[in-house]
Symmetry: C2
Subunit: 214 residues, 2 copies
Amino acid sequence: MKDRAETSIEFWYDFASTYSYLTAMSIQDLAEAKGLHVCWRPFLLGPIFTAQGWKSSPFKIYKNKGDYMWRDMERCAALYNLPFKKLLHAFPQSGLLAARAALCLPQGNIRADFTRHIFTAEFAQGKNIADLDTIMEILTAMGQDTVDIIARTDSQVIKDQLYANTAEAKSKKIFGAPSFITADDELFWGHDRLGQALDWCAAKSSTTKNDHAK
Amino acid sequence: MKDRAETSIEFWYDFASTYSYLTAMSIQDLAEAKGLHVCWRPFLLGPIFTAQGWKSSPFKIYKNKGDYMWRDMERCAALYNLPFKKLLHAFPQSGLLAARAALCLPQGNIRADFTRHIFTAEFAQGKNIADLDTIMEILTAMGQDTVDIIARTDSQVIKDQLYANTAEAKSKKIFGAPSFITADDELFWGHDRLGQALDWCAAKSSTTKNDHAK
C-alpha cells in the first residue's frame, strides 16, 4: 500500500476547468512513462472560489484574463494536437453531475476514461456536461450500467464523497485546477506544472526505492 | 525598422513581480539563440490591479495562492540554478523608482543589465528596491552617471513615459507580469509561456523572411 502511494500522483480536477482538459488528455501516458500511477480526484472549485470571494470563475470576473485564457487554450490545444471549441457562451459549465458520476466509477482506468470522455464532450465537441443525456451517452458508450450509476449520483454516499473530496482539496490548500499532490504532500498548480510534478514524484520514488534496497 | 520589429519580442515586466525575475534572468539568451531581439518594457501593475478591484498583489489578497507562489518560486529557482530569497515580509515592493530609472537608460543591453541587477538585488539578495541607495549602488557599479539618472527619475518626461507604458500595457490587455507581445500583437502571459512566445516570434520572423525572398 505504501509502495503504491510512493509511485502515485494525485490529479485534482474540476470538470468545468479548461486547463484540466489539457491535463486529463495527457497525464496518464506521461505518468506511465515514468512508472507512476495517477489517482483521479474530481472535486468542485465553486466552494473554494466562493471562500475567496469569487461568485464565478476568475475568467468571467476578469474580462482580459478570460479573453486571454480562450486564446491561450486555442494555442495550447493546437500545440498538443487536441481538438478544442471555445465555450464563450456556455462557460463555466456545472460539473456537479459529471463529478458525482466519476465518483461512482472505480479509481483507475475506468474513471480515467470517463474523465477524458467528459472533457472531450465539453471542450472538443461543445456539449453541455450538465445535461443528463451527455453523461448517459458517455456511460452507455463505455458499456457501463448507466441506469444504476445515474441513480447512485443522487445517493447520499456519493454526495458525501464529493463533499469530502472538496473539503480535502481545501484542507490541502488547493486554490485552482488542475492541481497535483505528490506522495510527500508537495502541491503543484496548473497544467504548466505537470512536468515538474511528475519529475518530483519520479525522483522521490526512486530515492525511496534506493532506501529500501539498502 | 520593420525588419527589426519582426525579429523582436516585447518583454513587459513590473519590478515587484517574482515571476518576472525568472524571465529577466533568461530571456535574452533564449531570444538570441533564436535570432530574436528583446525590447525591455517596464510598466506598473498597480493601476491594472486597481482597475480589476485589487488593492494589492493577488498573492497578498489570496493567502493560499501567495503561499503557493513562494514555494513554486523556490522550486523553479532551484531548477534554473538561480539564487532566491523569499520576501515574506517585504512583498510586494514598490518598483516605481526602479521602473523610472530603467526608462532613463537606453533600450537594449544597458537597460537589460540594469533590470537584471534590480531583480537580483530584490529576489536573490533580499534588498529593498524602493530604497534610493539600492538603485544608486547598481547604477554606480554599472558605471552610469548616477546623479544625472536619479535627477531624471523625478522629471516629467520620465514620469510621463512610465505612465504611457502602463497605459499601453492596459490598452494591449495585459493583466499580469511577465507578459510578452509579438510583432503581430499576440499576447502571452507568464514565465511559463516564454518558450511559446519565442517560438511564435521565430516562426513568424522566418515566414516573413521567406515572403521577402519570394
